[in-house]
């Protein structure tokens, strides 16, 4: 599926104006249907499916390659947590009409706010790195060296956004990333062992190894990305969804989260069925094997297209949203929405992230491992921001009767605590690993 697409609906609106001049009514209607369909898709679906970006594909594929179907139970737990978290965020957006960042600034002290923002920025920087790694891995499949592809991609994405034609490129990336919809088909065609898939999904189990722990936290990080929580709360508020329409939005949010995780699980199943040597994923070419049942000898090209689309899309959107969040926190936001080129702080932050992200992705090393490590970083940061979400959703003074009830409170707290314990263990394992202890 696709990466976050905050500009989709608004872009559609603005494009109507452009299309209106040149295009005959017939074509315009076609766009209108697409815009309506996207609007119907709702923030919940878009936000949750943001998890299936370059980092997500790499992590899910690696999970399938290394542990077969054994991570499916973890994914079941992650799905529950994702549903709970996304629902709380959507509820906060609908009942307060504000985004998460604004709520945090208004409800917490400035230092606590700054800490949240710092965590958000670090998590997003990890994502930017992984998007550039994704672009490099995709173009590697068609024989382009990362030392050529990353600099060109960085300059191209920067220029597309700053000079304003990004919106058209975005559509191309979006269509490319639809290639990953072939995963469920591939998973079925690969004839996986159905009884094993089912039992590994529902039978509670964990594998007691360091690698499994780190991968599980990476799975959490890529599925419950902090970016998604900020996006869904902001998008719900921005669409004017209020308490009256919240029931419909709730269905969209929960359905979107479940749909996104089904796709993720199909990626794991397809890869597990296609790769028989249980070892960490070494290259994108290996991951592409999973698409063989669908695309045959074109599997690598299909995988490359999808990965390139998903990565390029997010490589622009993630740094944009981070720059926006910081500009707003610093009180310089109001120049942003209007005239992009007149916002030096915003532009500086955007440029800085692109440069930093591309530079880190250029450091020699295994691209797939870099992708997974970026998700691991996200997974370690996730519980920090989840704590803020939980505290806000519990607040009666903020949400009134829509605040978490006692049962919901227990479930949500349990989710956050489990995620936090796993993240802490992963952090400890990583730090100990640096000193050669494992």
């Amino acid at each position: 599926m696709t990466t976050p697409k905050p500009t989709a609906e608004t872009a559609g609106a603005a494009d109507q104006a452009a299309d209106q001049v040149a295009a005959p009514p017939g074509r315009r209607r076609w766009w209108r249907i697409l815009v309506i369909a996207l609007a119907f898709a709702g923030p919940g679906l878009i936000a949750a499916n943001a998890g299936n970006d370059a980092g997500g594909i790499a992590t899910y594929a690696s999970a399938g390659a290394q542990f077969g179907y054994r991570t499916l139970f973890v994914m079941l737990l992650v799905t529950v947590a994702l549903v709970v978290v996304q629902e709380m965020c959507a509820r906060l957006g609908a009942y307060t009409g504000e985004g998460l960042g604004s709520l945090i600034r208004e409800q917490f002290s400035i230092r606590v706010t700054a800490f949240a923002l710092l965590a958000f920025v670090i998590a997003n920087l990890g994502l930017v790195v992984s998007e550039f790694a994704g672009i490099a891995a995709a173009l590697n499949l068609v024989g382009v060296s990362r030392y050529v592809s990353i600099p060109i991609a960085a300059v191209a994405i920067w220029a597309l956004v700053v000079f304003g034609s990004y919106r058209y490129a975005e559509r191309l990336f979006l269509i490319l990333s639809l290639a990953f919809l072939s995963y469920p088909v591939a998973a079925v065609l690969a004839r996986p062992n159905v009884s094993e898939v089912v039992s590994q999904t529902v039978w509670p189990h964990l594998v007691p190894s360091r690698d499994f722990l780190l991968l599980a936290v990476a799975l959490i990080g890529t599925t419950i990305t902090p970016y998604m929580q900020f996006y869904i709360a902001g998008a719900v508020a921005d669409k004017g969804i209020g308490p009256a329409e919240y029931q419909a939005e709730r269905i969209d949010t929960i359905g979107g989260a479940i749909f996104a995780d089904l796709i993720s699980m199909f990626i794991i199943i397809a890869t597990a069925a296609a790769i028989h040597v249980r070892a960490p994923l070494e290259s994108a070419a290996q991951a592409a094997h999973a698409l063989k049942p669908v695309a045959g000898r074109f599997a690598e090209q299909l995988f490359a297209f999808g990965l390139l689309g998903a990565s390029a899309l997010a490589a622009a959107v993630v740094p944009l949203s981070t720059a926006y969040a910081i500009s707003e926190a610093a009180g310089a936001e109001r120049s942003v929405g209007r005239r992009f080129r007149e916002a030096p702080l915003f532009l500086g932050l955007f440029t800085g992230q692109i440069i930093l992200g591309a530079s880190v992705a250029l450091i020699p090393g295994n691209l797939i491992q870099l992708l997974i490590n970026a998700q691991l970083l996200n997974g370690i940061i996730t519980p920090i921001l989840l704590t803020y979400v939980l505290v806000l959703a519990n607040r009666k003074r903020l949400l009134g009767d829509a605040a978490n009830g006692p049962v919901y409170r227990v479930v949500a707290t349990a989710c956050v605590v489990v995620v936090a314990i796993m993240a802490a263990a992963a952090l400890a394992a990583t730090v100990l690993g640096w000193f050669g202890i494992s």
Binding site: A13, A17, Q20, E98, G331
Partner: protein
């Protein structure tokens, strides 16, 4: 709705307003003595509260200010003090002195009353600091990173706010930095439109509107509405007159307007739409969800509804969808003086009228007389005398934007008349509406708010 941001006229209006403001000298934060005496709210929070003997009895949590809008600079009515595990209320009468890093009370004894919020008052640190406000002078939405207080005539009053990054940095740093008011970007409180208590907190109370709000251009008000959060936006709409609110709505971006109309109370939204120009109202309704649109339409007054419904039935990219039905129809027998009276009655729509249509007894178009022609004619002459070349420029309701633009290009007129098959005028298209459609969307980079 097309994006109508008239940046040229916009830039000139606030400059005039700003100059007017700069000449004012009665604003408190502009005087040096007040500037030196400013107390920082962020610096005061958490400071020790001492009794007369100088012993600490608790810590300052928050200041409570009267918020009924009677006074320009809200007076502090009391303190919230953390004493042990309790939050106690201390009326301001019991306070002897508020210093930069401590508060001293008058008596040794403290009557510990549990703090409860009262109507007409707000907690400055909890409800105002870091919450959205409107800086009327600068025409922008800001979040104060600090609030400044100073004693005025024996009362501690809220006199200004700081929006600078320095104030934020000061609050992030160690406690001893905090109390020094940096006062780099101070906005006098008389230039601030504050709101009630903001999002979420059930008991919404309205702040009093500042008179300066009236001076805002509709496009400026639209900018403010776009930038505010949901609760504040609703409050600002309530604070300005319904006419001003409707004018501002016409200037808002399509997606922001859609959001506003979706989230607000249907009755209120319908009242605003009823006051908008029919073509703008139709554009706004077109973007809404089916049920919402039907609901709002049903709430419109009969006349407004029929006008909007006619427009809604048209394709928005044809002459029928672009036109406004606001038109003045006259017959050849009417005198110029009568026509001028008709114009005076339509003064609210004058921006959408650049000429009047003359029709025969069957309602067919005879001519399109510009306001210039009317201005130069003798009051006693009849409209019939003015009929003659240049003849009106007309388009059918189904004409495309490109065709309309071509007609404008050939005729060099400011508006064209839309006529049906029987040559009866049904509406008018102004050149600026076509301009909006032709303008490329470049440079309008929009991104959903993450933090607001």
């Amino acid at each position: 709705m097309a994006d109508r941001r008239v940046s040229l006229s916009l830039a000139s209006v606030p400059r005039a307003v700003r100059q007017r403001y700069e000449q004012r000298s009665d604003r408190l934060t502009r005087t040096r003595s007040v500037r030196d005496a400013l107390l920082s709210l962020a610096g005061l929070a958490g400071r020790p509260v001492l009794n007369q003997a100088g012993e600490q009895i608790g810590r300052l949590v928050d200041l409570v200010a009267r918020w009924d809008g009677q006074e320009v600079y809200p007076p502090v009515t009391g303190l919230v003090v953390q004493v042990g595990g309790r939050r106690a209320w201390v009326p301001f009468e019991a306070v002897d002195h508020v210093g930069r890093d401590s508060v001293r009370l008058r008596s040794a004894r403290l009557d510990l009353r549990e703090f409860t919020e009262r109507p007409g008052e707000v907690l400055l640190a909890a409800d105002v600091l870091d919450h959205q406000l409107v800086d009327i002078e600068g025409v922008r939405v800001v979040r104060p990173s600090d609030l400044y207080l100073t004693p005025v005539e024996g009362r501690l009053r809220l006199v200004g706010m700081d929006t600078g990054f320095g104030a934020l940095a000061r609050r992030l740093g160690p406690a001893r930095w905090r109390s020094r008011a940096t006062a780099e970007q101070v906005i006098d409180w008389s230039d601030v439109q504050a709101f009630g208590t903001g999002a979420g907190s059930g008991a919404v109370q309205l702040a009093a509107p500042r008179g300066e709000l009236r001076r805002l251009h509709p496009a400026e008000l639209a900018d403010l509405l776009e930038d505010l959060g949901r609760a504040e936006r609703k409050e600002l709409l309530d604070l300005v007159s319904p006419e001003a609110a409707a004018d501002a709505l016409e200037e808002m971006r399509a997606d922001e307007l859609e959001e506003l109309l979706s989230e607000s109370d249907p009755g209120e939204a319908a009242r605003l739409i009823a006051r908008m120009e029919p073509d703008e109202a139709a554009d706004a309704l077109r973007d809404l969800r089916e049920e919402r649109r039907a609901d709002l339409l049903a709430r419109l007054p009969r006349q407004a509804r029929s006008a909007v419904e006619v427009l809604l039935a048209q394709d928005e990219n044809t002459a029928g969808g672009l036109m406004t039905t606001t038109m003045i129809r006259v017959t050849a027998e009417q005198t110029v003086a009568q026509v001028r009276d008709l114009l005076a009655a339509q003064v609210a729509h004058i921006a959408d009228i650049d000429s009047i249509v003359v029709v025969d007894e069957d309602g067919r178009l005879l001519d399109d007389v510009t306001l210039g022609e009317l201005l130069l004619a003798e009051p006693g002459t009849t409209v019939g005398d003015l009929v003659g070349p240049p003849w009106p420029v007309t388009v059918p309701p189904g004409a495309s934007v490109a065709e309309i633009a071509a007609r404008f290009g050939e005729s060099r007129r400011l508006s064209v008349v839309v006529v049906d098959e029987e040559e009866r005028p049904v509406g008018r298209i102004l050149a600026d509406d076509v301009l909006d459609m032709l303008r490329p969307p470049r440079g309008k980079f929009h991104f959903p708010r993450v933090l607001s």
